[in-house]
Amino acid sequence: MNAIGWGLAAATVLAGIGIFAAVATPDRVRAAATGVCTAGIGVCGVVAGVTALGGTGLRVSLPWLLPMAGVRLSVDGLAGLFLAVAGAVVAVAAVYGIGYLGGGHGPRGRGVQASLPLFAWALLLVPCADSISTFLVTWEMVALASLILVLAEHQHRPRVAEAGLWYAAMTHLGLVAILIGLMTFGAATGGESFDALRAGQLSPVTQGLIFVLVFAGFGSKAGLVPLHVWLPRAHPEAPSHVSMMLSAAMVNLGVYGVLRIGVDLLGGGPRWWWLLVLGTGAVSALYGILQAAVATDLKRLLAYSTVENMGLVFVGVGASGVFRTSGAPGLAALAMAAALLHVVNHAAFKALLFGAAGSVLRATGSRDLDALGGLRSRMPATTALFALGALGAAALPSGNGFVSEWLLLQSLVHAVPSGAVTTALVMPAAVAAVALTAGLSVATFVKAVGVGFFARPRSDAAANAGESPRLMVVMMGVLAVGCVGLAVAPAALGPALARVVNTTTPVLHGDVTVRLSGITSTLSPLLIVVAVLAAVSIIAAAARLASRGVRRRRAAALWDCGAGPPTARMEYTATSFAEPLQRVFDDVLAPETDVDVTPYAESRYIVERVRYHGRIPDRIEHQLYRPVMVAARIIGRGGRMLANGSVHRYLGYGYLGVVGLLVTLAVIQ
């Protein structure tokens, strides 16, 4: 048994201790006890993942653990990457959660606290699963544990229950799709372990069916449009440390699933699979960032940004598949490396951003950007950390998101027309989609930082905010260090990524090595950071020098047209900042506005009150899900007529059923 085995075993023991601690310890120390255990699970995951990335593998079979199927675990490079990312996020989020729940904030009930280590443990086990049954059991454990965590604050806000309902329905529909796909796979190959699936010979139609089914399931977990609707509801409503785990670790499992089943087990497949993946990814990226740009709820904005980033990852995965099938293995490896690097980068900055958003929520009790503002002087550490995360999320140079998005663009731009018309047609469109996404994400995060943290407070809650507990700030600092490290020295991940890329591109013959030193030759992230810092300090020094010549200085009030100082209500809000964008993308967003004019009873020309109400509903949800829900309701109403409570009628149903069955059998035999 190597370090991976010890790590996973220790994680299991810690999960047991954590669940016990959550149930047994008194209210005062419960959050701290489970938090420490959960953090320990995360650290174990990091150890196991890093060991696996170093080239060591693990294969364990525990036939006695689950009835009939047993448990099979295996850890390779691909699993190692997702293990390490999930472990790191879990470790930081758990310690952050101790601070977040301190001082009587947030949910600290037994059930919720017991779900935390269970969720963390299940997150680590999904990438390790090596058979269909193990995979499905761990997958469902993740879904159930996270559902309990999402519902944690349902007593305080009615919207939590609604979000939980959406999440439960969507995640289980996804599970059904994966279940049918994997069962078809297992039935067709006659095996249950991933080795048997890998060796199986399937017809292209069956393969295609399996891929579409599992892609739908994994896509809904990763929040791909149009199966994203649960994500912007559930992620914001969860307690913030859970949001970190959901958005930075759990959605990655969707990527992992597609890579494991589609690339590893099904062996690559034809080009249309990957065009489907690429197209869905591009649409998700654009739609996600557009909704984020017009969102006014800070955590909802971040959740839509998760949709966007997962979309970008799938653009990379899809492009890699397209390149592989059109005979450009080098580009395929580059696109895959970009996608995997973006998974790591996204986890780092999104965990940081959700942490900072949680810090704001804890201090002000509000997530509404329109009611925040002025937090820069009241919560300086949180503001600085949020800004750093936003720099990464906006994909600007010297942020960590830039490196992977730049790599992705490079791989798309260099798509040599290798005889394939589809590549020549699709890749420029993908470049445009990624570029537009990057541009909109700048606007989104300028809004989030500028409107949320700068200017003057627009509510009493924001005016009375204070800095969060030191534990939270320190943990966000750890994430910030991670972001800076990924931004300055992404080449350090090179060997590990190359190993993962080699395991995920089985169609490649020979050993393609992707080193991020390729980045260093044409673009040095470190030099960019140094150049940006130097430019800023030179401008600051020059401004200081220039102002030294001024002899007399007079302080004067801000010019306000003589009417008196502007109030905080006159500031730009998130809504007003995004209004031009909303106009530009009017056709896509379809905003709803409602003007309600109430005149006086005496005369309809004299207006007593004008109410303006504007909202931007999720259009896909409106147009795609509402008809389905209406249909389900109609069917349900029909079903109610069948079941009217009469015992005689139920007995009659049973009788008719048995008779029908016997008749059918008689006819068939």
Binding site: A556, A557, W559, C561, G562, A563
Partner: protein
């Protein structure tokens, strides 16, 4: 388009011929401006008679911009204030704030009789006083309303051109 161009050609210049430049700058503070004076107009409660005359001063006929005087849109951009009307209660504080907003050295020109001594509105209930009661005045241009020539002459006293 062609008709317009022909009209422009046939009309030619309509501006009044420039009379010789006045004595070098009459207001001491204006000398530092060296012939270029940016003006912010403040209506402190005028009947709009003076406004019509000021509008005509900067129109094509009197064209005060020839002499270096120019209207600007914010006191932050201005060297001088052009105040008209008696100062009403509502406008006293905004006038004071506008005066504060002008960078130094700043000049105040009271245009019209009302600005000088409240004119016909002296003692009215809504009137606080003349401009000089609220902010220090450097130059006065009499008249009710003052002729455009008088305003141009006053402004040329500032620019010295």
């Amino acid at each position: 388009m062609r008709r317009l161009l022909r009209k422009i050609r046939s009309t030619g210049r309509v501006a009044e011929p420039a009379v010789p430049a006045p004595d070098p700058v009459s207001v001491p503070g204006a000398r530092a401006l060296r012939g270029s004076v940016q003006l912010r107009h403040v209506d402190a409660g005028s009947c709009n008679g003076c406004e019509i005359e000021i509008g005509s001063v900067f129109g094509p006929v009197y064209d005060a911009e020839r002499y270096g005087a120019r209207l600007v849109a914010s006191p932050r951009h201005a060297d001088a204030l052009l105040v008209t009307g008696p100062v009403t209660r509502n406008m006293a504080e905004p006038l004071r704030r506008t005066y504060e907003a002008v960078p130094e050295p700043r000049i105040v020109v009271a245009v019209g009789d009302c600005a000088r001594d409240c004119g016909a509105f002296a003692g009215a209930y809504g009137v606080q006083g003349a401009v000089s009661d609220v902010v220090p005045v450097d130059m006065e241009i009499p008249g009710c309303p003052p002729h455009p020539e008088a305003i141009v002459a006053g402004l040329r006293g500032l620019t010295g051109r």
